[in-house]
Symmetry: C2
C-alpha cells in the first residue's frame, strides 16, 4: 500500500488525489495551510486523512501542489526529510526557478519537476474532479537529473493517470508557456476587466454574452491566489509576450482607424492558420 502525501489541496492537488485513490492501491494524506481546505478535502473524500509535515519521511510519493512562488521553499523542506526512495514531484506552471532552487540539493535525484497541462477556471478542494489528467500532456523538466528508479516510478504513476509525457528544458518550458498559457490568462482577465468597467448595466452583459465573450473571458474566473505568483515567477517571458500582444493590438487598431480593410482581412486570414494547428489536438 503506497503512502501518498499531497501538499496543497486545490484544483490540481485535489484532482490528483481523487484519481490516485481510484487507480492505485494507496492511502492519500493531505497537508494544507488552510484548515478549511483540509476539512473540505476530507468531507469530499479527496484525502483519506490529514498528516503532519513531520510524518512525511516514509511516504512513497510526495506531491507539491502549492502556489508556484512557494514551491522552491516547500520542495527544499520536503527533500530535507524524505527517504532515499521517496518520489517528490511538483505540478507548478513555472519550472526554471524550481529547477534552479533544488539544483544542488543532495536529494535532487528524488525530484521530478512536472507540469501537467490540465485544469479548469475553478479553484480550491471543491474544484477537484475525476479524470482531469486523461490524455493531457505532462511536461517534465531536467528529468536527466533524477535517479532512474525515481523517474520510472513517476512515469508509472503518470501513466496510471493516462498522461502523455513530454521532456523539455525548463527555460524553454517557461518561454513557451508564457505565450500559450500565461498570456491567454492575462488577455482574458483584462477583457473581463474592460467589459466590467464599461458595462455598469450588468443586464446587458448577461443578455449579450452568448457572442463569443463567454468563452474568451472564461479564464478571467481563475484564482488570483494561483495566478499572481505564476505571473511574477515568469515575469520576463510574460512581459515580452505582453509587449508583443499590445503591439499587435495597436497595429490592428490603426488598421481599423484608417479603414484598411485589406490589411485587416490579410491579418485575420493568416491568423486563421491557428485552426490547422489546433485541429490536430486530440
Amino acid at each position: 500500500m503506497e503512502k501518498i502525501v499531497v501538499i496543497g489541496l486545490g484544483l490540481i492537488g485535489g484532482s490528483l488525489a481523487l484519481d490516485l485513490k481510484q487507480r492505485i492501491e494507496c492511502k492519500v494524506y493531505g497537508i494544507d495551510q488552510n484548515p478549511e481546505h483540509i476539512k473540505k478535502a476530507k468531507a469530499l473524500g479527496i484525502i483519506d486523512d490529514e498528516i503532519d509535515f513531520s510524518e512525511i519521511k516514509n511516504a512513497s510519493v510526495v506531491i507539491i501542489a502549492v502556489p508556484v512562488d512557494i514551491i522552491p521553499k516547500v520542495a527544499t523542506e520536503v527533500l530535507n526529510v524524505v527517504s532515499e526512495d521517496t518520489l517528490v514531484f511538483d505540478v507548478g506552471s513555472v519550472k526554471n526557478n524550481i529547477c534552479v532552487a533544488i539544483e544542488k540539493h543532495p536529494k535532487r535525484k528524488n525530484y521530478v519537476a512536472a507540469h501537467p497541462l490540465a485544469g479548469t477556471e475553478f479553484s480550491g478542494p471543491e474544484a477537484a474532479i475525476l479524470n482531469l489528467f486523461d490524455n493531457k500532456v505532462n511536461i517534465l523538466c531536467e528529468s536527466d537529473k533524477c535517479d532512474w528508479k525515481i523517474l520510472d516510478k513517476a512515469l508509472s504513476l503518470f501513466k496510471k493517470l493516462n498522461m502523455r509525457i513530454k521532456m523539455m528544458n525548463p527555460v524553454e518550458h517557461d518561454r513557451h508557456i508564457a505565450y500559450v498559457s500565461h498570456l491567454s490568462h492575462v488577455s482574458s482577465f483584462m477583457l473581463g476587466k474592460t467589459v466590467l468597467e464599461i458595462e455598469k448595466n450588468e443586464q446587458a452583459i448577461f443578455d449579450m454574452a452568448s457572442t463569443g465573450f463567454a468563452s474568451t473571458v472564461r479564464l478571467a474566473k481563475s484564482s488570483a491566489t494561483t495566478w499572481t505568483p505564476i505571473f511574477l515567477q515568469n515575469k520576463e517571458n510574460l512581459i515580452r509576450s505582453l509587449e508583443e500582444y499590445i503591439k499587435n493590438l495597436n497595429e490592428f487598431k490603426e488598421m481599423i482607424e484608417t479603414g484598411n480593410s485589406e490589411a485587416l482581412t490579410e491579418t485575420m486570414k493568416s491568423t486563421n492558420y491557428i485552426k490547422t494547428i489546433l485541429n490536430g489536438i486530440k
Copy 2:
C-alpha cells in the same frame, strides 16, 4: 406555404434556412453571389432551390444575411421590390448604419433590424447547423418603426426558432456589442497572431494548447470576410473599447514589472466578479 428567401448562405443564413425548413411549412430559396455557396447549399439540403433577385417580389419573408457593410445596399434593393406584406429582416452584428440607411425608405415599415446572438467560429454553408438559435437572444432595433403585422410575423417566426426577444436602441446596441462581442474577437485574433509569430515551432503550440489557450483563441478561427466589415462598421465603438483594453493591459504589465502582487491580486479578484454575471446565463 410560405415562400422564404435567404440572401447570403453562410453560417447564419444557412442555419436559419435549415431550422425554418424543419419548423415552418415553407419553401426556402437562396441567393448568394458565390455560385459555390448556392451549389453547396442545395447539396446540403439547406435551400430547396436558388432564385433570381427579380423573383423575390412575392416572397412572404426575405432574410438578409450578407456581410454587414453591404446590408444597407441589399436592404434598400429588397425593400424597393417586395410586396406590402413581405417581412424583410437582416441579421447583422452592427445595427445603427442599417437603421439610418433605411430610415426614410417608403417600405421602412416592412423591415425588422435584428441581431440574433448566435454563431460559431466556422463559416460558409457547410458551417450551417440545426438548432443554432434555440434559447439565444435576438436583439431587435427600432421595432416601433415596423408595421405591427410585419413585426408580429417576425415575432412568430423568431419564436418558432425558440429565440428570446430583446428590444434595444441601435446606438446602444452597437456600443454594447463592441465590448461584449467585437472586442472579444479582436482580443482572440491578436492572441492567435502573437502566439503564431513567436511559436515558429508549431509542435510546441500543439502540445501545450490544452491550457486555456484553445478556448481563448477559438474566435481567431472566425471568417475575415465576416469580421473585417463588422470591425469597420462599428469603428468608433470598437476603437474606444480597444483603447480601454490596451490601457488595462499596460497597467497590468506595469504591475507585473514592479512585482506589485497586491495590485495584481486585487485586480484579478475584482474581475472574478464576471463569474457571478456569467453564471446567470441559461
